[in-house]
């Protein structure tokens, strides 16, 4: 039942209609109030607000024809501050209102926002006095003149971490050797190991030069000695 979610602690309840069922707004609100056993009467003129009165405003698009935005906001705020008013219900249709500021500002003013998103889905956003904000999604049948709603539970997909066997991932063996393989591995000398072993054996460095037959050696020590360099 939608009434169980709406009737209660929230002073200003706003219905935001994105579908275009404003024509049925009175009927829908009537059904909700009847469910909660709340009686109401329609008054066109000035009304004296008695103790614990619920106020249903005319559709905001109709109020917009007569009043400017400021007047609408001021009067709703006055009703909110009135101690004799227990709850205020307003309906705003995004297709029918002209002013772009109306919906966001009224959403800011309200404590509970029922957004009719599509023909079968609505969301209820509630703001508690402690500052907590809850958003829940529901399936609805308002188009069939029914007030039943069913919560859509968003299932959290938990990632299950499986123990991964590293040996099965690769295409080669890591760490598992047969005795022969292990022996071969131990005996294998890598190129840098070979160089190190040679260096260890011959500690002094030596240039060994083997001349070719065509190589020409000067016997003199310094061939340029005869030149007089200053």
């Amino acid at each position: 039942m939608i009434s169980t979610q709406i009737i209660g602690n929230y002073k200003f309840v706003l219905f935001v209609d994105d579908v275009g069922i404003e024509r049925n707004s009175v009927k829908i609100l009537d059904n909700i109030l009847r469910e909660a056993n709340l009686l109401y009467e329609i008054n066109d003129g000035s009304v004296t607000v008695l103790k614990q009165t619920n106020v249903i405003l005319e559709a905001i698009s109709r109020l917009e024809l007569e009043y400017n935005e400021k007047d609408i906001f001021t009067n709703i705020q006055k009703l909110k501050l009135n101690e004799n008013v227990s709850q205020i219900f307003a309906w705003i249709s995004s297709n029918n209102v002209h002013s772009k500021i109306l919906i966001p500002f009224l959403e800011h003013m309200s404590e509970l926002i029922v957004t009719i998103k599509s023909n079968n889905q609505l969301s209820i956003l509630s703001k508690s006095k402690s500052g907590n904000v809850k958003l829940k999604e529901y399936h609805h049948e308002l188009m069939n003149n029914k007030t039943m709603i069913k919560e859509i539970k968003i299932e959290k997909v938990q990632e299950q971490k499986e123990d991964v066997n590293v040996d099965n991932i690769g295409t080669f063996k890591i760490g598992q050797f047969t005795a022969e393989e292990l022996e071969a591995k131990r005996n294998l000398k890598l190129p840098f190991e070979k160089i190190n072993s040679i260096n260890q054996e011959k500690k002094e460095a030596k240039i060994i030069y083997t001349p070719d037959n065509v190589d020409d050696f000067d016997e003199e020590d310094d061939p340029d000695n005869d030149l007089q360099f200053i």
Partner: protein, 242 residues
């Protein structure tokens, strides 16, 4: 033509019909066929506020569609209000901007009612004209609400409102459409122009059960305007034929 009239719900006891005309389309053929259908009814009268086309246009259309509008005018079963004709005069412009034309319409409804006319049709072609000449959207919506209230007040009264250029006046069109029990949308084909199809009609009929409004039926039809008739085609009906 009979098919068009019945498909659009003109033969049914609908009280408030809106015709939404998007840009680059002309729904005047609907008004012409509606006038023909209403004139054939016994004890009927029509009040036509013609802003989109002149009265001469409807007379010519009537001759093509097989009814004589001049005869109905002389019999005083057809009254035309032509704000376009006297638009140069400043007083006319003021009366357009004010609600005076609505008061004129109301007076004429009362006269017909007093003369015992059973079926009165008020046709406004089209509302966006008033928007062009300085009426606000709120003012036009309020007049539409008043007209809707009149349909409840007078039993035999039905109101047909045409809203032109709905692409530009979406807010106005949405609000007026919310009052209707039958709305007809005239659109161009999104895929382009064809020699055998001029556009499409989306006909949405609304029913009311115990104060709860729901869609009774919604259908889309293609139309082609010929010289003396309008041909309706179901989508998908046309194809290659040998």
């Amino acid at each position: 033509m009979a098919l068009l009239v019945s498909a659009c719900g003109f033969t049914e006891p609908r009280k408030f019909i809106t015709i939404n005309e998007s840009c680059d389309t002309d729904g005047s053929f609907l008004i012409s066929s509606l006038i023909g259908q209403r004139l054939r009814q016994q004890s009927s009268a029509i009040i036509l506020v013609c802003c989109h086309q002149s009265l001469k246009y409807y007379e010519t259309c009537g001759r093509k569609l097989g009814y004589n509008l001049s005869m109905s005018i002389s019999k005083k079963s057809f009254i035309a209000i032509e704000p376009l004709r006297d638009i140069i005069e400043a007083t006319t412009l003021k009366s357009i901007q004010s609600d005076k034309w609505f008061d004129d319409v109301h007076e004429k409804i009362k006269d017909f009612q007093n003369n015992g006319v059973r079926h009165i049709s008020v046709i406004i072609d089209d509302v966006s004209f008033f928007r062009t000449f300085g009426c606000s959207e709120a003012q036009l919506i309020k007049i539409s609400i008043k007209l809707n209230d009149l349909t409840r007040q007078y039993d035999g009264l039905s109101v047909i409102l045409k809203i032109g250029l709905t692409d530009l006046h979406q807010h106005l069109a949405n609000n007026i459409q919310d009052l209707s029990d039958c709305s007809i949308t005239v659109e161009r084909m999104k895929s382009g122009d064809f020699w055998d199809v001029d556009g499409k009609l989306i006909i949405k009929k609304i029913k009311c059960d115990n104060g709860f409004y729901s869609t009774e039926s919604e259908r889309t039809l293609l139309y082609h305007i010929g010289d003396h008739n309008v041909k309706l085609i179901a989508p998908g009906e046309h194809g290659l034929k040998f």
